[in-house]
């Protein structure tokens, strides 16, 4: 039963991704063409409000529902990792028109071909694990 809250939050995620058309390939294309404010508004407002959340976590005003402090694990540093990994991700994001969250939402929408993308993404993560000691970070 402790997992049901994650299922419900996931449902909300799936609904908002669908209803705000974030799962639409066209919205991603439009974003990279700078022809609409939609995606910038979504990410920008999420980040601005997210800063408030982070502040509440850091000042311990908000703790977990079990009363534990909330720590945000710092991201791994490394110019190559972040820049080159980011560029590959961006190439895939603009081609698939979907990042890892929306991919699953599109499965729920009944888009069969997205399964190839999800399979590819899993294969990509596997290939990263296979080659991680040979590429720069």
């Amino acid at each position: 039963m402790k997992y049901i809250k994650f299922f419900l939050v996931g449902i909300l995620f799936g609904i908002v991704m669908s209803k705000a058309e974030i799962i639409s390939w066209y919205r991603i294309y439009e974003m990279f063409k700078f022809q609409s404010f939609h995606m910038y508004g979504i990410i920008g407002s999420a980040v601005l409000l997210g800063m408030v959340s982070m502040f509440l976590f850091k000042t311990k005003v908000i703790k977990t529902f079990e009363g534990k402090d909330i720590h945000i694990k710092p991201k791994k540093k490394g110019m190559y990792r972040n820049l080159l990994g980011g560029i590959l991700f961006g190439l895939g994001w603009a081609l698939a028109g979907a990042c890892p969250g929306p991919m699953y939402v599109l499965i729920g929408k009944g888009v069969v071909s997205i399964l190839v993308v999800v399979f590819g993404a899993t294969l990509g993560a596997f290939l990263y694990g296979l080659s991680k000691d040979k590429i720069p970070h």
């Binding site: 974030i22 022809q35 991201k75 990792r81 994001w93 081609l95 990042c99 939402v105 993308v117 590819g120």
Partner: protein, 185 residues
């Protein structure tokens, strides 16, 4: 109900995404979707020959449940909350897409040229989908996060690695959209 069935504006969606992030931390976990890809590899047995995947994947069960919820949410939204599949695009976007061979942009959520079953069953179409996926998966794990972990959480937390990653996302996205997509179709 009109409020629900119409497409949601950015100022509705952005705050809800922020609330989702808040709730995941409040529940003692985190917001990061691409790490599930590694969990899939671990479940599939990749840990047997690559140490990187030798993790106790059961600790990530909550995130797999989140994904199951996301799939369910997509099903609910498309079946019961979305009377129309039309995406209202900037007319310039529609014209630009027609110029590169993608017709009727915005008539549905996704272009048939990439996502129809017919396209998927051609060699070229299959490889477009597969390579797009590989780039997303490899890139996200190399960078240590995707749109959720870097663009939303990392930027909210003022993390320099995330800013660099998001700049990378845009360099890659701009190269694909402006230089490579026009050559594909």
């Amino acid at each position: 109900m009109d409020f629900i069935t119409q497409p949601w504006a950015w100022y509705v969606a952005g705050p809800i995404i922020s609330i989702i992030m808040f709730l995941l931390y409040y529940f003692g976990e985190r917001f990061g979707v691409s790490s599930n890809l590694e969990t899939f590899c671990s479940i599939g047995g990749a840990g047997k020959f690559i140490d990187y995947f030798k993790i106790d994947w059961k600790e990530n069960t909550w995130n797999l449940i989140f994904v199951a919820g996301a799939i369910t949410g997509g099903f609910i939204a498309s079946n019961w909350l979305s009377p129309s599949n039309v995406v209202l695009l900037n007319p310039q976007t529609v014209k630009d897409l027609a110029d590169i061979g993608i017709e009727n942009a915005g008539a549905t959520y996704l272009p048939d040229a990439i996502f129809s079953i017919e396209a998927m069953l051609t060699l070229k179409g299959f490889f477009i989908l597969l390579i797009a996926g590989i780039l997303v998966g490899f890139g996200a794990r190399w960078a240590g996060g995707c749109t959720s972990g870097h663009a939303i959480v990392g930027l909210s937390n003022l993390e320099l690695p995330s800013l660099i990653s998001v700049i990378g996302f845009f360099i890659g996205g701009l190269i694909m959209t402006w230089l490579i997509l026009p050559l594909i179709f």
